[in-house]
Amino acid sequence: MRTRLALLGGTYSNWRALQATLSDIQARSVDSIYCLGDFGAFGPYPDRIFPLLQEAGVQCIQGNYDNSLAGGLEDCQCGYTDPRDNHFAKISYRYTNENTSPQYKSWMGTLPHQLCLEIDGHRLLLCHGSPRKMNEFVWNTTSPDQFLGHLLEEAAADIVCATHTGIKWHRQITSRQHWINVGVLGRPENDGATNVWYTLLQISGAEVTVEFVPVIYDHRALAEDMRKERLPQEFIETILTGWWTTCLEILPHKERANGKF
């Protein structure tokens, strides 16, 4: 028996990338599709995400952005301390909050914080940031093996799938233990390429295969949408160039040095 899951990270209102992703998935005989939260932020027309997710039968969990919007909180709970990052985070949160319908906010409030699955004896845990905290940043270069092992054991999981940081990565820690950051659909991952990423996870008996799938979508049309909605030029630049221009303070040294700003 082979089980194949499509795992989507934060969509950040990038409805064009989500549309392209869902049609890519259609051609790949996938058993289920999951989205790990942070539906809004950054991009235009937040309400366009939800019908797409619902039509494709995507099972969703809550991210910190969704938790904030559903709870009527004042910010996105990303915990920025840099005043410039905070300035842009506020613009993005205000826009998303004002343009998300109450019905979708309530729906986000009903979503689980994590999902546990068991496939061929592998215990999977799907979460947003980490199993212990919804908004914890777990980066490749600041998460040593022993720490990931601790998080997995504490959560009684063999495979953890998370998003939240915006950059995909996968590490096999022991023969059974995997940590997978599935990437995000919302914005490119700070490498100068305009595509975004999702993840295919295939389990067949003892075998676990992780494939990161690049999604090329009409990013210029998205930039045009963003212009129409008067979203900041800095956000548009990221979509058009593939380099992050804001929210940089959260990046550890190596991830930051790989970027342009």
């Binding site: 905290k133 980066w139 092992g149 550890p252 040294h253 040095a257």
Partner: protein, 304 residues
């Protein structure tokens, strides 16, 4: 000393050793900054150096406990002759941060740091303190000539692909924050550090800084009531410990407080600690400021 015996002070348990700190050069420093929170300085031997062997043993123990990140502080860590070897050893096991005043980072050291960073799969963070964006502002607190040396060091590191995290203690009203940060950005860029990373820290009512600000400030201590509904994971004592030449302490801020000593090594990480110092209130007020921003776990309730 701000020890109080009231039983109303909250107790916090070590939930998991996320962060292990080493006071690698004790309180020995080549500078004597007026706001130093642990009163380090030239000839100050309240705490002594840690040997490479001690560090290796403690690291081994911490790895078994699932440690997430390792931090080296002092005093001035680069006064330790084996610091590069120690950082390289730590980087094999965990992401590593060194907190330095930057004045000793010459071309040779910058090159060595770049080399160990490049060969490690984990991030090396070099945190350099700076307290003003002009020589006049900075050197008033940190000593004459320090500003120029720090700017030279950041440029040296930047030329080799390293992006040090420049930490600045907030000594201005919030309304001036943007203007002042722009001042730091400009000064760093003009000296050759093109993509400056800046982290603002709160001033700590401890050590020499306590004496400096004492007048006009009254004591604020934590109570159980204040922690009701507060996420205790934000407090360092719930996730960190520090190794010094005199044993293991509950957190890097409290190394001058005898009651914050827990034992001789990481084996003695006491399960909980009573928060009865002013620094505990600072930690409560400002959250995870001792960590690098990238590692912060802020704001949200735990997932049950």
């Amino acid at each position: 000393m701000t020890i109080h015996s009231s039983s109303n002070h909250p107790r916090v348990k070590l939930k998991h050793l996320d962060h292990l700190w080493f006071q690698v050069t004790g309180t020995l420093c080549n500078l004597a900054c007026t706001h130093c929170f642990n009163s380090s300085g030239p000839g100050v031997r309240t705490f002594d150096f840690l040997s490479r062997e001690t560090i290796a043993l403690e690291l081994q123990q911490a790895v078994r406990l699932g440690v997430r990140e390792v931090f080296f502080t002092g005093g001035e860590p680069f006064l330790h002759k084996e610091l590069i070897e120690i950082l390289a050893l730590s980087l094999q096991q965990a992401p590593t941060t060194v907190l330095t005043n930057g004045t000793l980072i010459n071309d040779r050291l910058a090159q060595q740091l770049a080399e160990i960073e490049k060969t490690s799969r984990y991030s090396l963070e070099i945190r350099i303190s700076l307290d003003g964006y002009t020589a006049e502002m900075n050197d008033r607190l940190r000593g004459p000539g320090v500003f120029d040396k720090v700017l030279e060091a950041t440029a040296r590191l930047a030329r080799r692909g390293l992006l040090p995290l420049v930490t600045v203690v907030r000594t201005w009203p919030e309304s001036e924050e943007l203007r002042i940060i722009a001042g730091f950005m400009n000064a760093l860029q003009q000296s050759g550090y093109n993509r400056p990373r800046i982290k603002i820290l709160p001033s700590l009512p401890l050590g020499r800084e306590l004496t400096r600000i004492e007048n006009g400030h009254h004591e604020i201590l934590l109570t159980e009531e204040m922690l009701r509904g507060f996420d205790r994971d934000l407090l360092m004592c719930s996730n960190s410990r520090i190794v010094t030449s005199h044993g293991i302490w509950v957190c890097p801020l409290l190394v001058e407080e005898p009651d914050a000593r827990l034992g001789t090594s990481t084996k003695d990480m006491q399960p909980d600690y009573e928060l009865r110092h002013r620094a505990c209130h600072t930690c409560y007020q400002y959250g995870t400021f001792c960590q690098n921003v990238s590692a912060s776990v802020e704001g949200m309730p735990n997932i049950e």
